[in-house]
Amino acid sequence: MKLNRRAFIGTGVAAAAALQAPMVWSQGRPRVVVVGGGAGGATVARYLAKDSQGQIDVTLVEPTRHYYTCFFSNLYIGGFRDIASIGHSYGKLAAEYGINVVHDWAVGVDRDAKTVTLAGGAVLPYDRLVLSPGIDFVDGSVPGWDVSAQNKMPHAYKAGSQSELLKAQIEAMPQGGRFAMIAPPNPYRCPPGPYERISMVAHLLTQVNPTAKILLVDPKEKFSKQALFEEGWARHYPGMIERIGPDFGGDKVEVRPDAMEVVIDGTVEKVDACNVIPGQKAGRICEMAGITEGNWAPVTGYTMQSRVDGNIYVLGDATAQGDMPKSGYSANSQAKVAAMAIRGELMGSSVFPAKYSNTCWSLIAPEDGVKVGAAYEPTDEKIASVSSFVSQTGEDAALRKQTYEESLGWYAGITTDMFG
C-alpha cells in the first residue's frame, strides 16, 4: 500500500536530520509518538499512518536499525531459521507509510509538556504517546547475574546478537557437556518461550553433541503447555533434559558467570553453557514516564490507555492488563485496538468495541508444532479471557506438521502486519 508518497526520512538517514523534520510537517496535523518498534509499536505506527491516510503525523522511535523478532528466535537456535530471516528493517514504514522513523533511545517523558526526550538530545512533542518498549530485567532477580555478565551467560530474551551468542556457545560445548537454563519467574515475555528454547537446544544438541545434557532450573511449579512439552521431550530427547522445579530448589538459584557455575539450593553444578532468563519488568521508559505500578504499566482494556495518564497508550509486554500473555501476537492485537482508539480521539473516526486474541505456536522437534490460544474482551477490571484452546497430547504427526506449517504462515503474516 502506498498511501503517502512524500520524501520521508528513511532509516538510513542520520537521526539528527530526521528529528528536525516532524516539526516542519506537523503544522496542523495531530502528532503521535510511538516508542518501541516491535510487535506493538511497529503495528500501531503502521495502522495509524495507513488508516489516517497520512492525516496523523506518526514518529516511531526505535534504537535498532535492524529489528530481530523474539518470536522464532528459538527456531534460529534450533537451526530451523537463519538469523537474517528473523531480521526486519523499517524502510517500508518510512518509505511507503510516511512514518518518521527515528533510531534513538527515548530517555524521558514530560507528561505535562507532552514531550519525549531522546538520548541524542532531541525533544519530540506529542498529542498522544504510545509506549511499547517490551521488557527490561529486574535487578538482582538471579543472584550473581547482571547485564555485565550477559556475554558469559546470555539471556537471549531480546533477540539478535544475544541469540547468536547463545547458539555459538551451545555449539562450542565439549562432547557430553552440560547446558543449563535458569527459567524466569512469572510474569514474563512469551510463557512457552523458555520451554520451546529447551526443545530447540535439545534438537541442536542431538545433531552436534548427542551425549550432552540439559539442566532446566525453574522457579515455577507449572509452566505453559507443560504436558505437551514433557511428552515431546520424552519422545524426541529421552534422557537428555532434567528439570529442577521449586520443590528441589529451582527457586533458590545463584550463578557464578566467571566460574561457569550454577548453585542450586547450595549445590554447585559446573556447566558449559548457561542461559539466564531473569525476572522481568516493563521497559524502563514506562518507569521514567511515571506510569508503572510495581513492575508493569496498568492499562484499561477498552482502549489500552494508561490508567495513570489518558494521553499515553501502552502496548504489549510492558502492560498489566489482565489475562493476555506477554506475546508478540498479543502486542499486535492490542496495537490495533489502540490505533482505532487514537484515531477516534484525534480524527473523530468510528470507534468499535475492543476485541483481542492471541495464539502462541511452539516447535518441539522437526515438524512437531503445538499451539495455545484464547480470545479476550475488556471488562472494567481487566482484559478477560472469553474462550481458549490448546493442542492435545497424542495428536498425530500430520496435525503436528500442519500446526508447524501454520506457524510459518503466521510468522509471514504478523511480520507483514508489523513492517508492511
Binding site: 495502522y47 468499535f352 499451539k371 474462550s387 484452546f389 509471514a412 503474516g413
Partner: protein
C-alpha cells in the same frame, strides 16, 4: 444387483430398527443411486473402486478427509482440513455436497453443489451402503445425525458494514495476509460474500475443524461475519 439388494437390506434395517426420525433423515437410497450418476464421471464406489479424477467413495462415512490413499492428490485446503480433524459424517458430507467451495474453499471438486435437501439425503443414503460397519449402522453416532448447515435467508441477506469489517479484519491480518498469500495459512481475500459467510458460520458451529478459527468465528455475531465478508470480498 447385489449392491442394490444390500442397500435395500440396510435401508430396511434402519427403518425397522430405529423408527421414524432416522428413516426421515436417511433418504431414499434407490433414488440416490440415480442421483449418483452425476458424480460417477469422477468418483467410483463399490467393489474394486479406485481413485480416479475424484477419490473412491467406499467407506467414506467415518473416513478422515483427504485420506483416500497416497495415490490421490488433494487440494491444500482439503489436506489441511483432514489434518485438522475433519471426518466425513452425514453432517459434513451434507454440507460439502451442498456447496463444496463453502466447506473447502480451494477444493478441486468441480461441482457446483446439490441444493435440494432431499436429493442430498437420498444420495447420502445411497453412499452409506458402501461404508463398512459400524459407520453405517444407525446407532453409530455421528453419521446418522440430522444436521442443517443451510443458513436462514435473513442471515445471508445481512448487508455487511465495510468500515466495521475493516476494523474487524485487522484481527484476521495477524495471520491471513492482505496479499492473499496461501502458505501455511490460507488466503481469505476476494471470496464471494456468501461463501465467506457460510464458511465462517461453519466454523462458528464447529462443522469446519480448526481450533483457532472456531474460536475467532465463535464470538462473531451474524452482523460481524457479514461485515468481514463485505470487506474481504472487495479486496484484490
Amino acid at each position: 444387483m447385489i449392491r442394490s439388494m444390500l442397500n435395500l437390506l440396510l435401508t430396511g434395517f434402519l427403518l425397522g430398527g430405529t423408527g421414524a426420525a432416522q428413516a426421515e433423515l436417511l433418504g431414499d437410497a434407490a433414488r440416490g443411486e440415480t442421483l449418483f450418476r452425476d458424480c460417477a464421471s469422477c468418483h467410483q464406489v463399490g467393489a474394486g473402486a479406485k481413485n480416479r479424477v475424484g477419490p473412491q467413495l467406499n467407506d467414506i462415512f467415518g473416513r478422515k478427509a483427504a485420506s483416500a490413499g497416497e495415490d490421490y492428490r488433494y487440494s491444500k485446503g482439503l489436506t489441511r482440513m483432514g489434518a485438522d480433524g475433519l471426518v466425513w459424517t452425514f453432517e459434513t458430507l451434507n454440507a460439502y455436497i451442498e456447496n463444496p467451495k463453502a466447506l473447502v474453499s480451494d477444493t478441486r471438486m468441480a461441482y457446483r453443489g446439490m441444493k435440494d435437501e432431499t436429493d442430498r439425503a437420498d444420495l447420502l443414503a445411497y453412499l452409506r451402503g458402501f461404508s463398512a460397519s459400524p459407520a453405517n449402522i444407525p446407532e453409530s453416532q455421528p453419521t446418522a445425525r440430522a444436521s442443517e448447515v443451510e443458513l436462514p435467508p435473513e442471515t445471508l441477506a445481512i448487508v455487511g458494514d465495510k468500515a466495521y469489517g475493516e476494523y474487524l479484519s485487522s484481527e484476521c491480518l495477524t495471520c491471513h495476509q492482505r496479499s492473499g498469500a496461501n502458505e501455511g495459512i490460507p488466503g481469505v481475500v476476494g471470496w464471494p460474500v456468501e461463501d465467506f459467510v457460510i464458511a465462517m458460520h461453519a466454523y462458528k458451529r464447529q462443522i469446519r475443524p480448526h481450533p483457532v478459527m472456531q474460536m475467532m468465528a465463535g464470538r462473531l455475531s451474524d452482523e460481524e461475519i457479514a461485515a468481514l465478508a463485505a470487506y474481504f470480498a472487495e479486496l484484490e
